[in-house]
């Protein structure tokens, strides 16, 4: 076994400023290059090159510069951005945002290493997303089905249970009978949230089905930028190398974007909208476009990013630009949350653009798409009836509108609401949807095929699907 090329260490430290080390006399060093900072005591820290000018390199130290003495420092550059070993060794492990163990175990090993930066899947080698990932959440599985290879964000606001929902999906999601894994990347989490996530997902991690990457709020921002890239690198190799269907859950992407803004400011870049860097769109795309399926290869990478909209503003740059890249969205509603319903998914604002590729005959259940379409239509009518009732009073509504108005609470409590540890099979979710729809007269259910409706309303045989 060879030790490889001898790395050159640089010892001329011009300045220590906050988390930054300015190194002089460097040559051949590039942006985003990974470095190791060795202290006189032998302690080692890690860093990323933020800026290079002439023979100066600005390195952000991941572990911080506390206790560093510039006279005894040696900075060594790896010659490339961060690489990590990849493979099944990640499954069952809990690590920080740069891949160092947080579970008391040894470092993660793998047969090969891959650059964390990664690349998007070549468009001509892409296989369109297809087949569902079942989350065990009725509102998602029945109405906004997540499809393998899709990128479907959750739009939330502060105070809503988006972390609980993300964790529940991470704990429950499956791809019926096929090899499935979850990579959960938490960014900017408080210690309490990190503890909650770890507790909730430890069982699945122990079963060797999940990899947990936790970047806490007090961790360096540059590590927060690495976290989703590391998660995707791990996922890509589990999927396209190991033939698994991998769900990558990334929360909170707004926290990621804020870290990107901080690093951009440290690099002295010209700020764009709301001080985010002008390349925020392409940066987010460089993450989200790493998911998908590849022609001729087994496995898939599906991405479920969670982002909080500051002040609930959907036009904020982060949700706005995310919406351009992703294939639909799951929107959480403060009003539904206030009604004590969990998960507070606003079905009318939510959409899975690829649902037709993952649901319906031969994929989930033959009646799935019809039931979902009818329920969404009924909800839209219920919302109209509610608005009309607010203006003109309920007594002014037509009998049909009153039926829709009466249906809405049934939908909230008998379909949408489910326990935080309740996993619903797709059949159960669709049966719940049917029960809501059957509170309406058959004449209002025109989007359902007559045979399907007769089977339900005629002899009452449940699940009688032609």
């Amino acid at each position: 076994m060879s030790a490889g090329p001898v790395p050159v260490g640089y010892t001329s430290i011009r300045e220590l400023r906050g988390p930054l080390v300015v190194v002089a006399g460097v040559g051949g060093v590039g942006w985003d290059e990974f470095g190791t900072i060795t202290l006189a005591s032998g302690e080692r820290r890690h860093g990323v090159v933020l800026e290079v000018r002439d023979d100066l390199a600005v390195v952000q130290v991941l572990e911080g510069t506390g206790g560093l003495d510039p006279t005894g420092l040696r900075v060594t550059f790896s010659g490339s951005p961060l690489t990590v070993p990849v493979g099944e060794g990640w499954l069952g492990r809990t690590c920080d945002g740069k891949g160092a163990p947080r579970d008391g175990g040894p470092p993660v090993f793998g047969p090969v290493s891959a650059p964390v930066e990664g690349v998007a899947i070549n468009p001509v080698r892409r296989q369109p997303p297809g087949e569902p990932v079942l989350t065990g959440i009725a509102a998602v599985d029945a109405l906004t089905t997540l499809v393998r290879g899709q990128k479907l964000p959750v739009f939330s606001t502060a105070g809503l249970p988006h972390l609980e929902l993300a964790v529940q999906i991470a704990a429950q999601a499956t791809t019926a009978g096929e090899r499935f894994s979850v990579v959960f990347a938490g960014m900017g989490l408080t210690h309490a949230d990190a503890f909650f996530v770890r507790e909730a997902l430890e069982e699945r991690a122990a079963a060797g089905e999940l990899c947990l990457l936790l970047n806490t709020a007090d961790d360096p921002v540059i590590e927060r930028i690495l976290t989703p890239r590391l998660a995707l690198t791990v996922a890509e190799h589990l999927a396209f190398g190991g033939g698994r269907h991998v769900l990558v859950i990334m929360t909170d992407m707004t926290s990621y974007a804020e870290a990107l803004r901080e690093v951009s400011a440290a690099r002295g870049e010209v700020p764009a909208r709301r001080a985010y860097p002008g390349y925020l769109y392409s940066d987010l795309a460089s993450l989200y476009e790493r998911c998908g399926r590849i022609i001729g290869r087994p496995g898939s990478v599906t991405v479920l990013p969670v982002l909080t909209m500051p002040a609930g503003d959907i036009t904020h740059p982060v949700p706005d630009l995310t919406g351009y890249i992703t294939e639909g969205q799951i929107v959480l509603s403060p009003q539904i949350h206030a009604a004590g319903v969990y998960p507070p998914v606003d079905a009318l604002a939510s959409l899975s653009r690829l649902m037709r590729k993952g649901a319906g005959p031969g994929r989930t259940r033959p009646d799935h798409l019809d039931v979902a379409a009818q329920l969404i239509a009924a909800l839209a009518r219920a919302r109209q009836a509610g608005e009309l009732a607010e203006l003109a009073g309920e007594s002014a509504l037509s009998p049909a509108d009153r039926r829709y108005l009466a249906m809405y609470p049934v939908y909230l409590h008998d379909f949408l609401h489910q326990g935080r540890d309740t996993k619903l099979a797709l059949d159960e979710s669709l049966e719940r949807a049917w029960q809501v729809l059957l509170t309406l007269p058959p004449s209002e259910l025109g989007m359902l095929p007559a045979a399907l409706l007769n089977a339900r309303t005629g002899d009452g045989t449940p699940g009688a699907v032609p």
Binding site: V8, G9, T76, P101, D103, F109, E203
Partner: protein, 174 residues
């Protein structure tokens, strides 16, 4: 003068008898009603207690199942944590052993040759003017104009260990 009729002994007797009879019947009705009430109350209490018992039994079963699941999950977690800790210890022990063995090579006859080769390597990387000093734990450190090359035995061994990759996992894989 005529005498009063003898012994219309108690003219109220029929009335009294009727009242007593009515009172007896009323009492019987009341007693019967009270008995029925008592039986209904007892039956309701029995039914309620049976329902409570059933509910308590179900709740106990649920809580027991939850506690058992939590205990199993906790046992899994502890086992997993123990496994990871043991692997970390094995890895640390490997590193300690490797460093100790590498440092021991200073006592071998070939060490001066190794040291000279390392010094040559340092000069190739840093230039012929580089200052090369021997590291206290073996190997050399080259320095030149704000640059350094760590070719101490510890650093070389560390780089070799880093490149071992998944091979290290054979420590705990059978």
């Amino acid at each position: 003068m005529t005498s009063a009729p003898a012994a219309a002994a108690d003219p109220l007797a029929p009335v009294r008898a009727a009242l007593v009879r009515a009172a007896d019947e009323e009492a019987e009705r009341l007693v019967a009603a009270a008995r029925r009430d008592a039986e209904a109350t007892v039956a309701a209490a029995r039914s309620r207690s049976a329902a409570l018992l059933r509910e308590a039994r179900h709740r106990g079963q649920r809580e027991g199942a939850r506690a058992a699941a939590a205990a199993v999950a906790q046992a899994h977690r502890s086992a997993r944590a123990g496994l990871l800790k043991a692997r970390a210890e094995a890895y640390d022990e490997l590193c300690r052993t490797v460093f100790a063995q590498v440092r021991r090579c200073r006592r071998e006859a070939a060490y001066p040759t190794v040291r000279d080769r390392l010094a040559g390597q340092a000069r190739r990387v840093l230039g012929p003017e580089a200052t090369v000093t021997e590291h206290p734990h073996g190997g050399v450190i080259g320095t030149a104009d704000g640059r350094s090359a760590d070719l101490s035995l510890d650093a070389v061994a560390g780089r070799v260990l880093e490149r071992c990759g998944a091979g290290i996992e054979t420590l705990w894989q059978t």
